[in-house]
Amino acid sequence: MVRSRTLGARIADMLIVGSLLVLTLLTLAPVVHTIAESLSNGAAAAANAVSFWPIRFTWSSYTALFNGGGFFRAFGISVERVVLNGVLSFFLTILMAYPLSQSPRNFPARRYYIWVVVFTMLFNGGLIPWYVTIAHLGLINTIWALVLPGAVPAFNVVLLMNYFRSLPKELDEAARLDGASPWYICWKIYVPLSWPALATVTLFAIVTQWNSFFDGFILINNPHNYPLMTFIQQLVVETQSANLSILTPTQIAELSRTSGPSLNAAKFMIGMIPMLAIYPFLQRYFIHGIRLGSTNE
C-alpha cells in the first residue's frame, strides 16, 4: 500500500502533516512559554529573557504560592463551587432532560416546557437586571451567588434531551408495560445508558464553573471569598493592562510582594492544570456526546 503511493501523494501527506504540526505548535507555544517562565528564576523572567525553556531552573515560584495563603484559599473556593454546582446541575439536568425527551403523545405539556427552557437560550434580561435580581435574592457575597445561577444550563439540558431521544423508544415503552415508574426508568435505564452525554454535560458544567471570573468579580465583594479565576484576574491581569492607578494601596503592597512574571506564570499554570488534566480523558465522550439539535432525515 505504502509503496504503491506516488511521489505526489507523499508530498501531499507531508504538506498536510506539516501544516497541522505548525498549528499544534502555535497552540502550544503560549502554554510552553508560560511553563518556562513559571520554572525560571524570577529575575530572569522579569528581564524578559525567557522564551520556551526555563532559565536558571527553580521551583521557587510554586513553593511561594504554596506558602502564601491567598492563592490556595481561592483555589479551595473554586473547588467548592465546582463540586456544589456540579452535583446540583447533574441532577437537575437529568430531571429536566428525561421528561422533555418524551414524545408529545406521552407528555402533551412537553411543548410548553421546552419553550420555557429554550427561551432562556434565546433571550436574556441583560447584565444589570441579572445583577439586581441576585442582589434582591440576598445572594451577594455568598458562595451560592456563584453556584445557583448556573444550576440549570439550558444548553446542557437540550444536549442531554437529544441524547435521550436518540435511544430506542422501545426501552421506555417496554419498561412501562412492566409497570416501571418514570423515576425508575429515568435513573435505572436512561442514565446508565447515557454516560457519553452525561460525561459531556458534566465536563461542560465543571469547566464553566472553574473558569468563570466575572460572577466572582461583581457578586463577591470581599477578596477573601474570591474564586481562583477572580483572584488571578484581580492580582495579575488587571495590573498587566497597566491600570495601576485604580488599585488600592493594599493591593499595590500585595502586588509587589506576590507578583512578577514567574509567579504569575505559576498561578496561570495551577489555574489551568485541573481542566487540562481532565479533558483529554473525556474527549471521546464529548466528541460523540455533542448532539445539539437534530436534523430531520
Binding site: N48, T93, V116, I128, T133, D178, F268, L276, Y279, I287
Partner: protein
C-alpha cells in the same frame, strides 16, 4: 436451564383494560421532575427578564424595583442622542463578524486536513492539542496574550530579530481588533472542528473505495465526496452563527481592553457594564442591554429559520 422458571415468574398476567392507553404514562411524575429545574430558571432567568422594566424607569436602588418612578422611553431617547452609542455597536459587529467568518472557514479546512492524516496517533494528538485552549479560562488566556504582545513580550522580541521596532499592540487602535479576533479564533477553532469531524465519520466509506477503483485521486475525492458530504453541516453552522452577530466575547474584551482602545474595542456589553455597575446609571445601561438582547433575539430567530430552511435543522 435453571433460569427458565424464574423468567417465567416475572411475566405478569394481562391486566384488565385500563382507562388510559397502557403505553401512556401518568404525567404527574414528569411535571414533578421538571419542577425543581423550573424554579431555578424562574429565579435566575425569568425574574431578570421582569427586571427589564427598569429600562423604562429611573431606577433608584434605595427605592427598589417597584417604587422607582416610570419614565417611559426616556432612557431610549437618551441613548439615541448619546454620541458613543453607534460606535459600540460598530465595534461589536466588526469584531464578531470577523470571528464568525474565520470560525466558519478555518474549522472546515482544519477538519479536511485532519481527515487526510493517515497516522492515527498523530491525528489524535493533533486534535487533543488544538482543543486545549477551549478548556482554559479567559483570565489565563488573556493574561498570556497580554504578556506575549506586551512591549517587551515574545512577539516584539521576534519582531526585533527582523530589525522591526517594538509595537505597543495592546494600546493600538489598529492592532486591538485583530488581536481580539485572532486570539478568539485561536481558542475556538479546534473545538469547532468537532462537528465537522463527526459529520465526516458519518460518510459512507464505500464511496471512497468505489471512487478509488475508478481512479479518483485524493484531491478529487475531497472535492467530490468529502466536501459535498459536509456541505449541509457547513450551511447549518453558518446559518446558526448569524445569531451571534451582536455577541463579541464579553469576558475576553473586558480582560484585554483598556481606555486607550475604547474607540475600537469598547463593545456593547463592556459599555453596559461600565455605565450600569461602575457609574451606577442602571436604567440607561439596562435600556442599551435590552436593545442588544432584542436584536440578538431577532437574529437568532432568523438564523434558526435559515437553518431549518436550508439544513432541515430543529433545535428541539
Amino acid at each position: 436451564m435453571l433460569t427458565k422458571p424464574s423468567v417465567r415468574t416475572k411475566v405478569k398476567p394481562h391486566r384488565p383494560a385500563a382507562p388510559v392507553h397502557p403505553l401512556r404514562p401518568k404525567t404527574w411524575s414528569y411535571h414533578l421532575m421538571l419542577f425543581p429545574g423550573l424554579l431555578f430558571l424562574i429565579a435566575f432567568n425569568y425574574l431578570p427578564m421582569a427586571g427589564i422594566s427598569i429600562a423604562f424607569k429611573e431606577y433608584i436602588p434605595a427605592l427598589g424595583f417597584a417604587k422607582s418612578p416610570w419614565v417611559g422611553f426616556e432612557n431610549f431617547r437618551m441613548m439615541a442622542v448619546l454620541p458613543g452609542i453607534a460606535q459600540i455597536f460598530i465595534n461589536t459587529i466588526t469584531i464578531s463578524s470577523g470571528e464568525i467568518v474565520l470560525l466558519i472557514v478555518l474549522p472546515v479546512i482544519l477538519a479536511l486536513l485532519l481527515n487526510e492524516v493517515r497516522q492515527m496517533w498523530f491525528k489524535r494528538s493533533a486534535q487533543t492539542i488544538i482543543y486545549m485552549p477551549h478548556f482554559i479560562s479567559w483570565v489565563i488566556l488573556a493574561g498570556m496574550v497580554l504578556e506575549l504582545f506586551s512591549l517587551h513580550g515574545l512577539v516584539n522580541q521576534m519582531l526585533s530579530l527582523f530589525g522591526l521596532h517594538p509595537i505597543s499592540f495592546m494600546s493600538s487602535n489598529v492592532w486591538f481588533r485583530p488581536i481580539i479576533v485572532g486570539s478568539f479564533v485561536w481558542t475556538q477553532m479546534g473545538f469547532d472542528t468537532i462537528v465537522y469531524l463527526a459529520a465526516l465519520t458519518a460518510l459512507n466509506p464505500n464511496l471512497y473505495e468505489a471512487s478509488a477503483l475508478d481512479g479518483a485521486t485524493r484531491w478529487k475525492q475531497m472535492m467530490h465526496i468529502t466536501i459535498p458530504g459536509i456541505r449541509p453541516t457547513i450551511v447549518l453552522l453558518s446559518a446558526l452563527s448569524l445569531g451571534n452577530l451582536l455577541n463579541a466575547n464579553f469576558e475576553q474584551v473586558f480582560l484585554m481592553y483598556n481606555p486607550l482602545v475604547y474607540p475600537t474595542g469598547d463593545i456593547i456589553q463592556t459599555w453596559v457594564y461600565r455605565t450600569g455597575l461602575v457609574n451606577a446609571d442602571f436604567s440607561l445601561a439596562t435600556a442599551v442591554g435590552l436593545l442588544q438582547s432584542l436584536v440578538g433575539f431577532i437574529l437568532i430567530l432568523i438564523s434558526y429559520r435559515l437553518a431549518n430552511r436550508f439544513a432541515n435543522y430543529r433545535i428541539f
